[in-house]
């Protein structure tokens, strides 16, 4: 785990989620436009309005989850930094033990060494726990975003029933919703991919500790 990649990955996950959040905010505008258009279209687009509420719900879920996941990614990065520091201290202690084994007071370091080892193991355990939790949240968000496709399909159906004047605009909104959701999903998917690489690296290092 004492690999620069941990820090980089945590930062990359946060960056991917940030891109997703920007798109999600844009989706809020699309939902707002859809609501206004549905009002203008009147009875023929009456089914459109409740669906825009679903878009709102989806956006809020995305934003809320992304915020929590972002916080977790930052926390993970902090744990990794602390772990890195204790691993560095252990490696420096080890080289000193090898080189200066005859130093008069070398045993005075034994307690510190043991404590640093304990701290290192505790940080590894905490890292794995947090990493799993973050991974689960990313999976949940990814699944949640699948509902966007259903919303988009429902919007298309409702658009086909609207008057000719509004049909194209409503269809365009349905397409925008689908495209935005796809884009967000792709960023979440990229985060998951990064995370799976990280998890592999962590477990590879665990077996050497």
């Amino acid at each position: 785990m004492s690999d620069k990649k941990v820090f980089v990955t945590a930062a990359e996950v946060a960056a991917e989620l940030n891109k997703g959040m920007v798109i999600a905010k844009r989706l809020l505008l699309i939902a707002s436009n859809a609501r206004a258009l549905a009002l203008r279209a009147g009875e023929s687009a009456a089914g459109f309005r409740p669906i825009t509420d679903s878009i709102d719900d989806l956006v809020r879920t995305t934003l809320d989850s992304s915020k929590v996941i972002n916080g977790k990614a930052q926390r993970l990065s902090r744990i990794a930094t602390a772990e890195n520091r204790s691993a560095l201290a252990l490696s420096k202690f080890n080289s000193m033990y090898q080189r200066d084994k005859d130093a008069k007071y070398i045993s005075s370091l034994d307690h510190v060494y043991e404590e640093t080892q304990k701290q290192h193991v505790a940080l590894m355990v905490e890292f794995r726990k947090e990493a799993k939790s973050l991974n689960d949240m990313l999976q949940d968000l990814y699944s949640e975003l699948r509902t966007a496709q259903i919303i988009s399909t429902m919007l298309s159906v409702e658009a086909s029933q609207a008057g000719e004047l509004y049909k194209n605009q409503l269809n365009s909104i349905a397409t925008s919703v689908a495209e935005s959701a796809n884009a967000i999903q792709s960023h979440v998917s990229q985060s998951l991919k990064l995370f799976s690489e990280l998890t592999k690296a962590v477990y590879a290092i665990k077996s050497t500790v």
């Binding site: 520091r85 204790s86 201290a89 200066d100 007071y105 070398i106 005075s108």
Partner: protein
């Protein structure tokens, strides 16, 4: 890394650590100092991350680790104190004395267990198991918040970067020939020291002290008459060369 006892009287001693033959080539050679008195010790400018392991080995040859009660960082530079995060792992309870000005900067090196003790601009005296240690202002020499350390009982002044020389890694611990030594420290002082006024102020201050050894953080240590030779030479030197 080599160790050399500079002063020893009863349980009071000064040790210098430096001239590490295993030091990576491109990092500047540094002198680290330790003052021990009875069951307490202070590390002066404990050095950078790269040297930590060698330094730790040297320290536990001299004292048990739990006797390191204090660290001192004359200023914020990486060759002075970037090992702080590692000492923080090694020391169960210690205090770091350093210019108040640099606290929030130095904490970037990582410090959870060690307690920061800010030195006010006018300086501070502490006791090391009953022996007085003075932190003497050396501001702008070269850092804007900077201190030297004076031990009146041992008559030793640790001057940090003042008196520093860019020398070979296997150079002798003491300055052998002052005139030859000038070439090794002239550029360092002209370029790193920013202010003639600050320089004069520091010289005035330390000229009042009884100094047998003047110990810089880089290069040879000045002893005996070389201390006065160095102060006279520095007094005449024009510094702050980059803006001339």
């Amino acid at each position: 890394m080599q160790s050399k006892v500079l002063f020893s009287e009863g349980s009071h001693r000064w040790v210098v650590f430096g001239r590490d033959p295993e030091k990576p080539e491109k990092i500047i050679d540094t002198n680290q100092y330790m003052i021990v008195n009875r069951n307490e010790a202070i590390l002066l400018d404990p050095g950078g991350i790269e040297l930590f392991s060698a330094m730790l080995g040297c320290v536990v040859k001299e004292v048990p680790i739990d006797q390191i009660k204090y660290l001192f960082a004359s200023h914020q530079d990486p060759d002075i104190i970037s090992s702080l995060g590692l000492w923080d792992q090694a020391l169960e309870s210690a205090k770091l004395y350093s210019p108040w000005l640099w606290e929030s900067f130095i904490r970037h090196f990582g410090m959870d267990k060690i307690q920061f003790e800010p030195i006010p601009d006018e300086g501070l005296s502490i006791t090391l198991a009953g022996n007085e240690i003075q932190f003497i202002p050396a501001h702008y020499m070269h850092s804007s918040g900077n201190f030297s350390v004076y031990d009146p009982a041992a008559k030793i002044l640790m001057s940090g970067d003042i008196g520093a020389a860019l020398d070979k890694a296997d150079a002798p611990m003491y300055v052998a020939n002052f005139d030859d030594h000038i070439a090794k420290m002239e550029f360092f002082h002209q370029r790193w020291m920013p202010s003639n006024k600050a320089k004069s102020r520091w010289i005035d201050r330390v000229s009042k002290l009884e100094i047998d050894l003047l110990c810089p953080q880089h290069g040879g240590i000045f002893k005996g008459d070389d201390v006065k030779r160095f102060l006279d030479w520095l007094d005449k030197l024009d510094v702050g060369s980059a803006i001339k």
